[in-house]
Amino acid sequence: MTERIYGGICVMCNDQGYMTQLDQWNKEVGSAIAQEEGIEMGDKHWQVIDYLQEQCRNEVPLTIRKIGKSGVVTIKEFYTLFPNGPLKKASRIAGIPKPVSCI
């Protein structure tokens, strides 16, 4: 467990760089993590992040299939918005734990 500074705020992260306390998250923190991941956030990106956080609060495990059925984005869009490992990257930006699903 390490402390990292994102968007001027000190947040707790695990060794893989995923935040461990969602209540420390705000949009500036998310933007700073996104920058580290090489992603420039737009409206659609934030809609996805909102959805992921909501699922996390409801303790619903995330899968690519669920994202596709969310009505927020299609799977194709999801891969375009967050290239090279979309679910992992988006989860990191959203400040939620690393997804454990293989699908």
């Binding site: 596709g68 194709k76 490992g85 679910l87 293989c102 699908i103």
Partner: protein
């Protein structure tokens, strides 16, 4: 010493079987690669072609005969209806784990950027035409074409 900093760039999967467990193993490996930002392609050959035939992909079975992992005695495994029961049980389990049925899984793979190729020789052998196969198919290739797509560092080939 091997350079262990070399990353996997591309997974090339060859699916030659039509049993449900083999098809799912292949699809999960291909999808898992995309989720990690790794390219993936599937080459459907021999019985693997069943999983991309429009009229067959929803009717794939698990094998109850010659499959020690099922723990069903061979003589019993051959009884009428055994395969159907085992398949139904497996499909229920799969659905509970939020793993999609074959048709939907192929759509997810295609949307995720996995390339889906049919083997030309196997198609000729089974008298298949492209119209018999799913719309999301990226094309029909020879073995040579498929290998050519795997050129470069960090490519791995898996035969299922």
């Amino acid at each position: 010493m091997e350079n262990n900093t070399k990353k996997i760039r591309k997974m090339m999967l060859i699916l030659s079987k039509a049993t449900l467990d083999n098809v799912y193993a292949c699809f999960i490996l291909a999808n898992g690669a995309r989720m990690e930002g790794i390219e993936s392609e599937i080459f459907f050959t021999f019985f693997g072609l069943e999983s991309i035939q429009k009229d067959k992909l929803d009717h794939l079975h698990v094998a109850t005969v010659g499959n020690p992992g099922m723990h069903i005695p061979t003589m019993l495994g051959g009884l009428p209806g055994m395969e159907a029961v085992a398949t139904k049980m497996m499909k229920n389990k799969i659905e509970k784990l939020d793993i999609p049925p074959i048709g939907e899984f192929l759509e997810i793979l295609s949307a995720s950027g996995t390339k889906l190729w049919a083997c030309k020789l196997a198609m000729d052998m089974f008298d298949l035409e492209e119209k018999d196969l799913i719309e999301d198919l990226d094309g029909v290739l020879t073995v040579g074409d498929f290998y050519e797509r795997g050129q470069g560092d960090g490519t791995h080939v898996i035969f299922i």
